[in-house]
Amino acid sequence: MSVLVRIPTPLRPLAGGQSELSEEGTSVREILDNLIRRFPAMKERMMDESGELRRFINIYVNEEDIRFREGVSTPLSSGDEVSIIPAIAGGA
């Protein structure tokens, strides 16, 4: 099953310059695994040492933050849009 994945500008160089691509998977976890299999350099940017999604990477399925659904276990339907959005944060 195919979903559209939107790649944020900072990760595009690691994904062949693509801003969006089609990926196969029935959950966010599967999509991420397949994405990293295709573009291994994305792993370090998105996952921490224990293989969990980094705290400052937000993922949306359509209009919804997966943290308010089932996290990376959030199921996907054909035609869903998955957006990867690095947080914007800092401090003095």
């Binding site: 400052f56 933050d65 957006s83 959005i85 947080a87 914007i88 944060a89 800092g90 401090g91 003095a92």
Partner: protein, 142 residues
């Protein structure tokens, strides 16, 4: 997009004023927001965002707002050009925290200090932990 630190960045005084006004309106908390560019790559819009930390020393954009504004920018045919925030208590220069959390190496980072006279606005790129400052030239009009 400009890459050499010696290359000046032109920014309208109206956009500068929008950032300063935002910084003052939430002072002493840090403000944060986005700058969108038109199809020519020129900065044309300041979009104030919510600092969900409401802190004088930290900021984090509301992720939901970030998502929806990012989508609106894309649908309008514009692009994300820069990220701004204020340092109410310190110099308008990226802190160690700013550098560590700079996930957007291709965007400009704008730092405002609302308490100086006139209010300071400085512009940087943060790439691989390295800060490069660009000369900022304010121009009249939008």
């Amino acid at each position: 997009m400009t890459n050499e630190p010696s290359t000046p960045v032109f920014f309208s005084r109206a956009l500068y004023q929008s950032i300063v006004d935002h910084a003052r309106s939430v002072h002493p908390e840090e403000c944060c927001g986005l700058v969108a560019a038109d199809q020519k790559g020129s900065p044309v819009r300041v979009i104030p965002m919510t600092n969900i930390l409401h802190s004088p020393v930290r900021y984090q954009m509301d992720p939901k707002e970030q998502f929806s504004v990012g989508k609106a920018i894309r649908l309008e045919g514009m692009s994300l050009w820069g990220i701004y925030h204020s340092h109410p208590l310190s110099e308008a220069y990226p802190s160690v925290v700013d550098i560590n959390l700079a996930y957007y190496p291709d965007l400009f980072y704008l730092l405002a200090s609302p308490v100086t006279t006139p209010p300071a606005l400085r512009i940087f790129r943060i790439q691989n932990g390295k800060v490069s400052e660009f000369p900022l030239i304010l121009k009249e009009g939008d």
